[in-house]
């Protein structure tokens, strides 16, 4: 039995056999092999090349008629690379000389080559790195492909253990079988955490070398309440955790009982609770948990796990399904927030040195107008079915907002010309998630109907901390004085301009932050659906008077440590049962 301590990011307890996943990005650990296995591994390299060539030649033949010359050239170049004897030899020599696995040798060799291209001065040449990634992935799909598909073919309950889960991987999760998640990397606001919470799967992250400590098939307990993972527990421990699980289920039922009651503070101030979702399937969950609308509908999942961009119909089907569930309640659809840590297959052109400061989100959309317009058309078409709101992410300045609005206007005009109905008064808003947007909120307010403060990115950009990097993740805190000052500015400016303002970051669902946010003047919170009852319980236990006091006190404090300590104490005093 081994006990590991990490960060609890999604509540609940699960006990199941584990499944160990390699990263989708195929970051292959160096896996040494016995010299006697070298023959087998070099043969695997040769087979992977042979299969990849066959696959590509087939694809080339198949697409001959429909694709343009450019695409055919790309296939031809990739084939030429795969047929290059000196490349194959380099890889097999590497397997042989260093006694490593086929996948490691393929990955290392091709990454060295793409690294060579990525370093070049000529921008056109530099982009060739992307071709090499493609070739690498084609080969790796052959070599580790089986292991990847495991997750989708899962037909028994399992705890998923990985170094880190990518958005693409988590998108394929089947809630019925994935009972728990344990990852080595990540923090409270990592993608894994968000997805786990929204799917209601218990999860613990930041477990460091967890993948080295387990073997597929080990029994693992994930305690998403206390942040503990137990590997190969003894009978007594299993018994103890089964009891915890029952207790936890009872608590959830108690919370569910308040779902019919309104989210009103003890002194009668009405608070609106919305849900954050990723899939249309979750829309029902929002209503079940007592949510009154959707404050953040993430649409990236439409783009992930596939080889081609989603069609307008696919967009429309997803949005219309969601809107139909919510009826006349608001559905805030955020336009594609791709880039950073979320890519599509076809758009993974180039590895950027600073992806979070690079071509992501609205910037990416404004440079890929065809893709952007496809999504906007679908959103606008769905806008006649209910109360759809359009939200642009990562706006950093007024010009970007105007550009995005102009594109939306163009799409609207196109629809009018084609005689397709849409709501021309559809509400338009932005995510305020960069310090620049927060500081210029008073200017941006004139051109929007609503603000939604995305505290995750706002914190990351304000404090210059990568939330997914465990080396610095302790520096990441949404209650840092700098972040709080920006949040206060946005709320004040929104009130002055009479623009709706909500919070859709993780912060809105942290019990200790809820009072503070209410005290700062927020009346709309958008959170992961399973957490709605808990947050409602908090709201129903406090007065705005108390919240204002908390906010005033916090704003007079000058260190994150002091603030988080104070908030914890304040929350404990008022809501002992939440802790």
């Amino acid at each position: 039995m081994e006990i590991k301590k990490g960060i609890a990011v999604s509540p609940g307890i699960s006990i199941a056999k584990c499944l160990v996943l390699d990263a989708e990005d195929y970051r292959i650990p160096r896996r040494s092999i016995q010299p006697s296995q070298r023959m087998t591994e070099t043969q695997r390299v040769r087979n992977a090349f042979k299969d990849a060539i066959e696959e590509l030649a087939h694809l080339q033949e198949e697409k001959k008629e429909i694709e343009g010359r450019k695409i055919r050239d790309i296939y031809a170049v990739h084939l030429s690379y795969l047929r290059d004897k000196s490349l194959r030899k380099k890889i097999t020599d590497f397997v042989h000389d260093e006694s490593v696995t086929a996948e490691f040798a393929v990955s290392k060799t091709l990454r060295d080559i793409s690294g060579h291209f990525a370093k070049l001065k000529d921008p056109y040449m530099r982009e060739r790195a992307a071709d090499i990634y493609d070739i690498e992935h084609r080969l790796l799909r052959r070599l580790v492909g089986d292991k990847r598909e495991d997750i989708q073919r899962l037909d028994v309950e399992a705890v998923v253990v990985a170094r880190e889960l990518s958005p693409t991987q988590t998108a394929g999760f089947n809630k019925e079988y994935v009972k728990g998640i344990a990852t080595g990397a990540g923090g409270r606001t990592s993608h894994t955490a968000i997805v786990a919470r929204s799917l209601g799967i218990p999860a613990v992250v930041a477990l460091e070398d967890i993948t080295d400590s387990v073997t597929a098939g080990d029994t693992v307990i994930v305690d998403g309440n206390r942040g503990i993972v137990v590997i190969n527990p003894d009978d007594a421990t299993i018994q103890q955790y089964l009891e915890y699980a029952v207790e936890f289920a009872e608590l959830s039922h108690r919370l569910d009982a308040i779902k019919e009651k309104p989210a009103v503070t003890r002194d009668g101030v009405r608070i609106v609770l919305w849900g954050n979702i990723e899939f249309p399937d979750e829309a029902q969950l929002v209503l079940e948990k007592g949510g009154e609308g959707i404050g953040l509908y993430r649409t990236e999942f439409l783009y992930l796990n596939r080889d081609t961009e989603p069609t307008e119909k696919e967009h429309y089907d997803a949005y219309s399904r969601t809107v139909e569930v919510l009826k006349d309640r608001p559905v805030t659809i955020r336009t594609a927030d791709l880039g950073g840590d979320k890519y599509t297959q076809s758009k993974r052109y180039m590895r950027e040195p600073n992806p979070f400061l690079g071509l992501r989100s609205i910037r990416f959309c404004l440079q890929n107008l065809t893709m952007f317009k496809t999504q906007l058309r679908a959103i606008l078409r769905a806008s006649v079915l209910g109360k759809v709101k359009v939200m642009f992410p990562l706006i950093t300045n007024l010009q970007e907002l105007m550009q995005a609005k102009m594109v939306l206007g163009d799409v609207m005009e196109d629809l009018h010309e084609e005689g397709i109905k849409c709501n021309s008064d559809v509400e338009i808003g932005i995510m305020v998630e960069t310090p620049s947007a927060a500081l210029t909120a008073s200017m941006l307010a004139r051109d929007v109907d609503f603000f939604s403060i995305g505290t995750n990115d706002l914190t990351q950009y304000t404090l210059a901390v990568d939330r997914g990097n465990e080396l610095v993740s302790t520096l990441y805190s949404s209650v840092d004085p700098a972040v709080l000052r920006l949040i206060r500015t946005v709320i004040q400016d929104a009130h002055k301009a009479q623009v709706e303002v909500s919070i859709c970051g993780e912060m809105a669902s942290e019990p200790e932050s809820v009072m503070l946010l209410l005290g700062l003047g927020v009346r709309i919170l958008s959170i992961a659906p399973p957490l709605i009852p808990e947050v409602k319980q908090i709201i129903r236990s406090v007065t705005i008077e108390e919240c204002n006091k908390v906010a005033r006190k916090v704003l007079s404090m000058n260190s994150e440590r002091q603030i988080s300590g104070f908030l914890r104490d304040a929350a404990r005093k008022i809501l002992p049962e939440a802790f």
Partner: protein, 121 residues
């Protein structure tokens, strides 16, 4: 300009000579705007591979196998850079001539910077 010589002697080959094994080399300049990127590298390798002669291509930094797209593309020769093509084998002179033509005359079927500008880029 292409220089050819007997591979096992020192004299220059004369026009019309038929030989078993020759050594041949030429210096070429990249004339298309985008340089020797993937597709041109592929064209180069496709032509080089038709010949029996071994083909070596070099610039100041590296010397690579002209029949390997990996190695050729990694040269990343940009517009205006010069490459030395060396061939050795029975059809060395034909190989070098064909490759020189691809690089300098056909320019890989791509526009020069001037042509690209005129095309409104």
């Amino acid at each position: 300009m292409i220089f050819c010589k007997w591979s096992d002697e020192n004299g220059w080959m004369q026009t019309g000579d038929t030989v078993e094994n020759t050594f041949c080399e030429a210096e070429v300049e990249i004339k298309n705007a985008d340089g020797l990127h993937m597709r041109p590298a592929m064209q180069f390798v496709d032509i080089a591979s038709k010949y029996e002669a071994s083909i070596n291509v070099s610039n100041e930094e590296a010397s690579v196998d002209g029949k390997s797209i990996m190695q050729m593309s990694m040269l990343a020769a940009t517009y205006g850079s010069r490459l030395k093509i060396k061939a050795e084998g029975p059809d060395a002179s034909e190989a070098v001539e064909a490759l020189r033509e691809l690089v300098e005359v056909k320019k890989f079927g791509e526009p020069t910077p001037e042509e690209k500008r005129r095309m409104g880029q």
